[in-house]
């Protein structure tokens, strides 16, 4: 099984187009960092303008606010919505791409089972997702910390502000990246399922993005009937639950409780639902692939 995984990874990482995703991410992160490096204070003023009626902010606070941790949060907020496309580029190609090239025959005329092949391709997609997130962590977290330094992290919400001491932040990023890995793996599993149904790699990539787009719109819409019936079961609703690690509990005096998460059960429930989706997509992929006639 490990040898088969090695083959899949070799195929993914020997293709030049795989690196388009890494290049695109680097370009976006560097553009954000560059803009904030030269004009960060204007961005902070813009962020705080919505809260200026309720809070008074000192100049020192404003200066400290713009640090590596905040910039990483801004980058994650921007990029984690776009990353499903980058994941779909690889996972959507995994079966359909091989079918269109004819190399699926090359694999399926060997003594490996179709379920094994799906597992291996899924595992390779997961490794790709982890590599993307590691790359993002290097660029967004490490890069921003090196460029802007560290300080307390302040996260703005519609209900107010969340403040975390700087030595209480790093573990939250680790947890957030871990959660993002589950969220993006869900997209990879969906893309793999759609790839089984197609013989052209463009179809599953577009279909994955369409599903993510429609579900995201539904998740964001404020329609009461959907709030309790549909939204809780859309995987896109739960993909943004990584932010929960940056929402903290306050003590009686309003000070942040170190190491706290405002609603950990909700975050864990979201992770559970995403894992359920992954299992469902994977099982369906295997079921359909085992019955599929390979005609290409």
């Amino acid at each position: 099984m490990l040898a088969l995984l090695w083959i899949e990874l070799n195929k993914i990482f020997r293709r030049p187009r795989t690196y388009i995703a890494f290049g695109a991410m680097a370009a976006i992160v560097w553009l954000i960092q560059l803009a904030l490096y030269f004009d960060g204070q204007a961005y902070v003023d813009l962020l705080l303008s919505n809260l200026s009626g309720s809070f008074e902010f000192s100049d020192l606070f404003k200066t400290q606010l713009l640090n590596g941790y905040l910039i990483c949060f801004v980058i994650l907020n921007t990029l984690l919505i776009q990353m499903p496309l980058l994941v779909a580029l690889v996972a959507g190609d995994s079966i359909a791409g091989e079918a269109s090239q004819g190399t699926l025959r090359f694999q399926l005329t060997r003594p490996i089972s179709r379920a094994q092949l799906i597992f291996v391709k899924f595992a390779a997609s997961v490794v790709y997702v982890l590599c993307l997130l590691l790359w993002l962590a290097l660029l967004a977290l490490l890069g921003s910390v090196l460029l802007f330094g560290v300080n307390d992290l302040v996260v703005l919400r519609s209900t107010g502000i969340e403040q975390m001491q700087m030595d209480d932040v790093f573990w939250r990023y680790l947890a957030a990246f871990g959660f993002a890995a589950i969220a993006l793996t869900t997209v990879a599993a969906l893309s793999l399922l759609l790839s089984v149904l197609s013989e052209n790699p463009i179809g599953p990539i577009i279909a994955t993005m369409s599903v993510v787009l429609v579900f995201t719109i539904l998740s964001e819409m404020n329609i009461p009937i959907y709030d309790t019936t549909v939204k809780p079961w859309l995987f896109t609703t739960h993909m943004v639950a990584w932010k929960g690690f940056f929402y903290v509990q306050a003590d009686a005096e309003g000070a942040t409780v170190r190491g706290s998460v405002e609603n950990l059960p909700a975050v864990l429930r979201s992770a559970g639902i995403l894992l359920g989706y992954i299992a469902l997509f994977l099982w369906t992929s295997i079921y359909l692939f085992r019955r599929k006639d390979i005609l290409t």
């Binding site: 040898a3 088969l4 090695w6 083959i7 070799n10 195929k11 020997r14 293709r15 090239q101 004819g102 190399t103 025959r105 090359f106 694999q107 399926l108 005329t109 060997r110 003594p111 490996i112 089972s113 019955r291 006639d293 390979i294 005609l295």
Partner: protein
């Protein structure tokens, strides 16, 4: 002797289209078994079913005495195949593609062993070249190398000479002969060209529109004593009577007012020409074809079913 491959009442339906209809055949150990038929006759569909790429609608396949559905992995460990055109990873080298095929078969041969395989198909000097730079013939030979990498007992080659130039065709033919003669492999080779199959196969099965039409040993099917003679004659009415009255004439098939095909013993062609001349029937042309070629041409040129299937 237990056959290596036993196909029983195999059918495949795609919606309302029946691609393969109730075909049965057996391939014995050490044979080169030819699969002949036009494009769309059902050859590739049948071979894909043997390689488990397609699920049969009905029927069963046994390979090495084992049921294919129940012992798929065990069987495929001993089978190598190139189905339709060989497809490889173009951005990888020939050596890397071959190594990948080996790993997929669960083996990890040494570099020396893999290079020997490439040498066997004449690609050792291009081992490091990306496959996308290969000609069709080289890809075909690499396809055969990947099919042989795990030293299978049964090799299935679907249209292995398709798209090749005459030299490429000769190379593949030579390769098939060597596999059979020097390595005692059993091969199933499909083609739409009788001339190709004739040169390499010991046994033959002709498929037409998903049905089996002929199966048998080549030396029996290509009976040198029996022939089809194409005649171009001057007087159809008189010639018809004469041909009907001649007892060693098997069958007569008039294709136009001037042309007919006659099934007869080959050694009596001079006698037939003499009889026609004596009856004042002018003979403009005489051409002899063996009966299988005639049968196959009839299948491919017309929709008419000629004669009973020979099983």
């Amino acid at each position: 002797m237990e056959p290596l491959v036993r196909v029983s009442h195999l059918s495949k339906r795609f919606g309302s289209f029946e691609a393969v209809r109730d075909i049965s055949f057996e391939v014995n150990r050490g044979q080169v078994y030819g699969f002949l038929g036009q494009n769309g006759a059902g050859k590739s569909t049948t071979l894909r079913m043997i390689m488990t790429l397609i699920r049969p609608t009905a029927g069963s396949i046994e390979v090495f005495g084992l049921n294919l559905e129940q012992h798929r992995k065990e069987i495929l460990r001993q089978v190598g195949a190139v189905i339709e055109k060989p497809d490889h990873y173009g951005y990888l080298s020939a050596y890397e593609n071959l190594r990948m095929a080996a790993v997929l078969c669960g083996i990890h041969p040494s570099r020396e062993k893999l290079m020997q395989q490439l040498d066997f198909v004449g690609l050792a000097d291009r081992a490091k070249s990306p496959v996308k730079t290969f000609s069709q013939g080289m890809k075909q030979r690499l396809g055969i190398a990947t099919a042989l990498v795990h030293d299978p007992a049964l090799i299935i080659l679907d249209e292995p000479t398709n798209g090749l130039d005459p030299q490429g065709i000769a190379d593949i033919r030579d390769l098939i002969r060597r596999l059979s003669r020097d390595h005692q492999k059993t091969l199933i080779v499909s083609s739409h060209l009788l001339s190709e199959i004739e040169l390499i196969a010991d046994s033959l099965l002709i498929l037409h529109k998903g049905e089996k039409r002929i199966e048998g040993k080549m030396n029996e099917l290509l009976n040198p004593a029996e022939t089809i003679v194409e005649l171009e004659l001057g007087n159809k009415a008189a010639a018809s009577i004469l041909l009907q009255q001649t007892e060693w004439i098997g069958s007569v098939d008039w294709r136009s007012d001037l042309q007919c095909c006659v099934r007869m013993p080959k050694n009596r062609i001079p006698e037939l020409v003499r009889l026609l001349s004596e009856a004042d029937i002018s003979v403009h042309a005489v051409a002899s074809k063996h009966s299988l070629e005639y049968y196959f041409l009839q299948l491919t040129q017309t929709e008419t079913h000629v004669g009973p299937a020979v099983d």
